[in-house]
């Protein structure tokens, strides 16, 4: 390992060196590859499955950057996702805004803002208390929004006729894949920087980290705000894919699947989540067709087995093997 690995600086050569990682490159190849494969039959079930997979991968990346890297479990992720979907629904209602990029940016902004407002007071609490609030506060907020719903002159069942993201699933897949590639690259660089090192330090022993000099709060605030923004963006995409945003956008599947993906990909690995995202979501789509009713039960069962037998994900055993091969004999 080169001795200056932990240093900052945005030199192009340094960035290239950092990105020359097998896992990152594999994830990038997967994104490009699946985007290409999805073009075969633009309206196929396969292309649609890839579109849905891409949205879950965005959520998984958001979860991994924040909760995965720091160990602060944020169960409010589906709230920010739903908020993003509603923001897109709200602005597109009665044809106010028809521009998809504008809608996505609005949802991103609302996600960032809501994430910041949520994270600022709650991140002062340590792990379990933070997690509890991450469940409670979004529940309360959702309740308040829904009870004032009709007074706000909103459509009762939810927003419909939201502009579609693209004319075909294949076209939508290109947009989603491009953004995922950007997020993957950005988050991966962040993980490998001094900033990411502090996040991993937080997960290992935050008390020792701050006692020995690192003020951890700003780091946590940044990643949880970013993650909420990404979730808001993902919500906008979802709303524009199904052309609808209703109360069921706040579903817990938008929490459970991203977590499952991150565990399988290796918590805190970032790039692993992309690979695992395709595996999990394509399998899920296949199961949906094959088992219909039983899908969720089969899947939850698989998740439990996974956590029991591969708590470090699929990459970790590989990684420790590589580490083992590289480490010289101890003196």
């Amino acid at each position: 390992m080169p001795p200056d690995r932990g240093r900052s600086g945005l030199g192009v050569r340094r960035i290239v060196r950092r990105l020359a990682s097998p896992v990152y490159l594999a994830a990038l190849v997967a994104i490009v590859g699946f985007a290409y494969l999805g073009q075969g039959d633009p309206m196929s079930y396969f292309a649609l499955s890839l579109v849905i997979a891409s949205i879950y991968i965005t959520l998984a990346l958001a979860w991994d950057l924040s909760s995965g890297m720091t160990g602060y479990l944020n169960f409010g992720l589906p709230f920010f996702f739903g908020l993003g979907a509603f923001t897109t629904g709200y602005f597109s209602w009665q044809d106010h805004v028809r521009s998809q990029p504008l809608l996505a940016i609005a949802s991103l902004a609302v996600g960032l803002l809501a994430g910041f407002l949520f994270a600022f007071p709650t991140l002062r609490l340590r792990g379990p208390y933070f997690s509890l609030l991450s469940i409670l506060l979004p529940l309360i907020a959702t309740d308040v929004v829904l009870s004032y719903w009709t007074q706000l002159h909103m459509p009762t069942q939810g927003y419909y006729s939201i502009p579609l993201l693209g004319p075909t699933s294949a076209a939508e897949l290109i947009v989603l894949s491009a953004v995922n590639a950007l997020l993957l690259t950005g988050f991966f660089l962040l993980r490998d920087s001094h900033f990411g090192l502090v996040l991993r330090g937080i997960r290992d022993d935050e008390e020792a980290l701050s006692a020995q000099g690192v003020r951890t709060f700003p780091y946590k605030l940044v990643v949880f705000t970013l993650a909420s923004g990404a979730a808001g963006y993902a919500g906008a995409m979802y709303a524009m894919v199904i052309s609808f945003a209703g109360p069921d956008t706040f579903q817990f599947t938008f929490l459970i699947f991203p977590i499952l993906i991150v565990i399988l990909g290796g918590t805190g690995e970032i790039a692993g989540s992309v690979l695992a995202g395709y595996v999990v979501m394509l399998l899920y789509s296949y199961f949906l067709q094959a088992f219909t009713e039983l899908t969720f039960i089969v899947f939850t069962g698989a998740a439990i087995l996974l956590v029991l037998f591969l708590p470090g994900g699929i990459l970790r055993p590989l990684r420790s093997f590589i580490q083992f091969m590289r480490t010289p004999e101890p003196p």
Partner: protein, 234 residues
């Protein structure tokens, strides 16, 4: 001006006065804090490092009142504490453990610290995989990474073999000669004695002696409370 100045510092846990009206000035490089188990040594270091708030009293570092500051601010001023029970960042490499703290005050040369503390050979290994002796060294190195002027060391050689301890004391001696100040809590006083300038002795939270190391062994109250019957050398 003294490096460190404690005036009337107390801290209780429930009814138990772990540190009881302790006052002293530190102007030399290396101060040893000794006393039997439960005397309040760790509590005293935690108070100085800002990890506990004193119930009363004032603590000054280079003339500045610090008893209400957060620990990370105190590190920023140039004082850091290491843990008696080591707390490495287990999923990070040895080098990354140091990099975490290397830009808090100016820029520390991680390579030099690895060299000084004898961790160069293992710099790429995960901290979680290190043997105990190296973890004790890593604990010291983590402290050094924020380039402190004053290091608070809680039993830096506790649990080490005699040879390992000798090596570590050699490292501390080199640090002292580079101008780093140290408050060393240590059970095994005889082994760190060569680098000690002054000694503070605690017993049941109270300061019973403050003076030179020569004076320490001659002091009647020390003999009675601390050396009396038991072995001070650990």
């Amino acid at each position: 001006m003294s490096l460190l100045e404690l005036a009337d510092v107390s801290r209780s846990f429930g009814g138990n006065r772990a540190v009881d009206r302790v006052s002293f000035d530190m102007s030399d490089r290396v101060l040893a804090v000794v006393g039997p188990n439960g005397a309040g040594k760790t509590t005293l270091l935690n108070l100085i490092a800002g990890q506990l708030r004193p119930s009363r009293g004032s603590i000054r570092f280079r003339g500045r009142e610090i008893s209400r500051l957060a620990p990370w601010r105190i590190v920023g001023l140039g004082m850091v504490k290491t843990y008696q029970i080591v707390r490495p960042f287990r999923s990070l490499t040895v080098e990354e453990n140091l990099s975490l703290f290397a830009r808090l005050r100016g820029k520390a040369e991680v390579g030099e610290i690895l060299q000084e503390t004898g961790l160069r050979e293992v710099r790429g290994q995960l901290a979680g995989a290190l043997p105990f002796g190296l973890l004790k060294r890593l604990e010291l190195a983590k402290g050094l990474a924020s380039r402190p002027e004053l290091l608070l060391l809680d039993e830096p050689i506790g649990g080490l073999s005699r040879e390992e301890a000798q090596g570590l004391v050699g490292t501390l001696e080199a640090l002292k000669s580079h101008g780093v100040g140290m408050v060393v809590v240590e059970h095994r006083l005889s082994e760190i004695l060569p680098i000690v300038d002054r000694v503070v002795a605690l017993d049941q939270g109270r300061l019973i002696f403050h003076g030179t190391r020569e004076g320490f062994f001659e002091d009647p109250s020390v003999r009675a409370a601390y050396l009396g019957g038991r072995d001070a050398g650990g």
